[in-house]
Assembly symmetry: C2
Homo-oligomer: 331 residues x 2
């Protein structure tokens, strides 16, 4: 028996966005139905390298498939400057839950971007106004590209406004999408007025004012991924219909972690978890809602779902490199 | 940048036992000096498949090297009968701790056997009598082979007695080693009288009587790996100089877990952890000692150490398959 090796390009090729969105939505619904197992992330902090490793195992039993995987991922802040490597590198082992055979080992870096985009699309689908046609992006890094790909799969996006302090990155983003969208560079304020806003920055203090948001803007708050980080003003968090991906992770390291830790935002301010909305036991947007905000920290079950799509598609296409990795002799 | 893929044969070829024993000893010493990070194993229990997954991440800073890895391993009891696959399958991602780049992905099944053998050798080196020349083995499965390989690297073993209910397995073991050792099939009682005894069975209730052990026998108790399992009589555990690999794991699922849970064996009955002996802060065998027993549950730091040897040796030899697994573009 062989294990399928799938590098970054293969992951990109086979993670067709509509399928990844469907799989991630199914994983969120499975989570709400308690058909997932997701131990807390294990951290290995290495201050001597200004970095850490995270081990993210999970099992998902969606209605039509089940799968298990572990993603081994890191945040090493000095990588770009000192090693010409990305801050984040990920590797994922995807296993058959029935036998534990490792069906695939794949790039987890591109995969992470894709599943993060897909989660924002799932949230947008349930929380943005039905006729949303404009998308604002704060941050023009690689995640911005995936946000646009994913969100335009669930809403008929025509206008895109991208904000970034780095005007070169900003222009590169505009150039990439100018054939497909009415896309322009703008300020954070310009971006925030769109029907949908995704914020994907590493800032530690709020940069998006409450008053810049449109009346019924849906916000995907992606950037905050560690204790102490926050992109949006506290007023926005208090005013919004506030949906989180996971209670433990969001209160610990998501967009809400700072005001929640200070007690200015409490559990009663939370509408609930995205999974319950997908599963139909909690409302999404209603006619009465103004701004909505999805706090996305990124869950191991999203990785499992995205990896499932990649593995199935690659297998069907006969793509990837088969390798005899583990000993399967019984004795 | 490419990741080195190392299948089971490559792991076997490059995990030269003396080097693995040295690396595992260094990892135990590093652990005693608090130069390791080892989050608790994460379990994913899948009763519907009579199995579970375990995620085992760790970082080791030995004096001359450091490394990080995660092993993704399982126990699926129906695998041999229903799927012609081993009960345990493992895959390991080995990473540069400075950048988190995944240097290698390797088989973790053979690796687990090797590092388990190496830990028994480290314990034997510190706890068996210096002139030990006989080794008893209870259980003639694959682990028995590695126990003999490893222990004969630290003591001048001449006589080997192997016990197993399965006489075919027992004879196969004898046949394999008959050229190198005075090896014979025997009863558990015969095996227990040797200078060193390793027990590697999946039994749940004790099968080795206290009175069968030699006066100064050193025991490596390997088999118990889950709550409720025990190979040795309680009397043995109470009489022995009792050394454990890790307090949390041993009290939860090691050889001592049952009497410890019942309160008939308490913390005062424990001599201490193997790492402290290797680090020189706790005594190994002294002239006054009778029987000694090492409770081995298997630590993630052992996997890191063994993987380090495999990766370094394979790299030096230009062996393994280089593969572009993760996206290293910075943008």
């Amino acid at each position: 028996m062989q294990t399928l090796l799938l590098g970054a390009d293969a992951v990109e090729d086979h993670a067709t966005m509509p399928a990844v969105i469907d799989a991630v939505a199914a994983a969120f619904a499975a989570d709400a139905r308690e058909n997932t197992i997701m131990p807390a992330k294990s951290y290995i902090d290495l201050p001597q390298y200004n970095g850490d490793f995270r081990s993210m195992p999970a099992y998902v039993n969606a209605e039509t498939w089940d799968a298990a995987a572990v993603k081994w991922v890191n945040v090493h802040l000095d990588n770009p400057r000192d090693h010409d490597l990305p801050t984040v590198l990920g590797t994922l082992i995807y296993s058959d839950p029935e036998t534990a055979f490792p069906l695939a080992v794949m790039d987890g870096t591109v995969l992470t971007r894709l599943r993060t985009g897909a989660a924002a699309a799932v949230a947008t689908d349930h929380l943005a106004v039905a006729d949303a046609d404009s998308l604002g992006l704060v941050g023009a890094g690689t995640q911005a590209y995936t946000q646009l790909d994913a969100i335009s799969a669930v809403r008929n996006i025509e206008t895109v406004v991208v904000a970034d302090r780095d005007t070169e990155k900003q222009q590169a983003f505009v150039d990439t999408f100018t054939d497909r969208f009415d896309v322009r560079a703008g300020s954070i304020e310009d971006a925030a007025g769109c029907d949908v806003l995704s914020t994907i920055t590493p800032v530690e203090s709020p940069i998006v004012d409450r008053k810049w948001l449109g009346e019924r803007t849906h916000v995907n708050a992606i950037g905050a991924d560690a204790a102490g980080k926050q992109e949006h003003s506290e007023r926005t968090l208090l005013d919004a219909k506030l949906v989180i991906d996971n209670y433990e992770q969001c209160t610990h390291s998501g967009e809400i972690n700072v005001p929640w830790g200070e007690g200015t935002l409490t559990d009663t301010d939370l509408h609930g978890e995205l999974g319950d909305i997908v599963a139909g036991t909690l409302s999404g947007r209603t006619d009465d809602d103004g701004i909505t905000l999805f706090d996305s920290t990124g869950l191991a079950i999203q990785d499992v779902a995205a990896a499932h799509v990649v593995y199935e598609n690659a297998s069907d296409d006969g793509d990837g490199t088969a390798f005899s990795l583990v000993d399967t002799e019984t004795s």
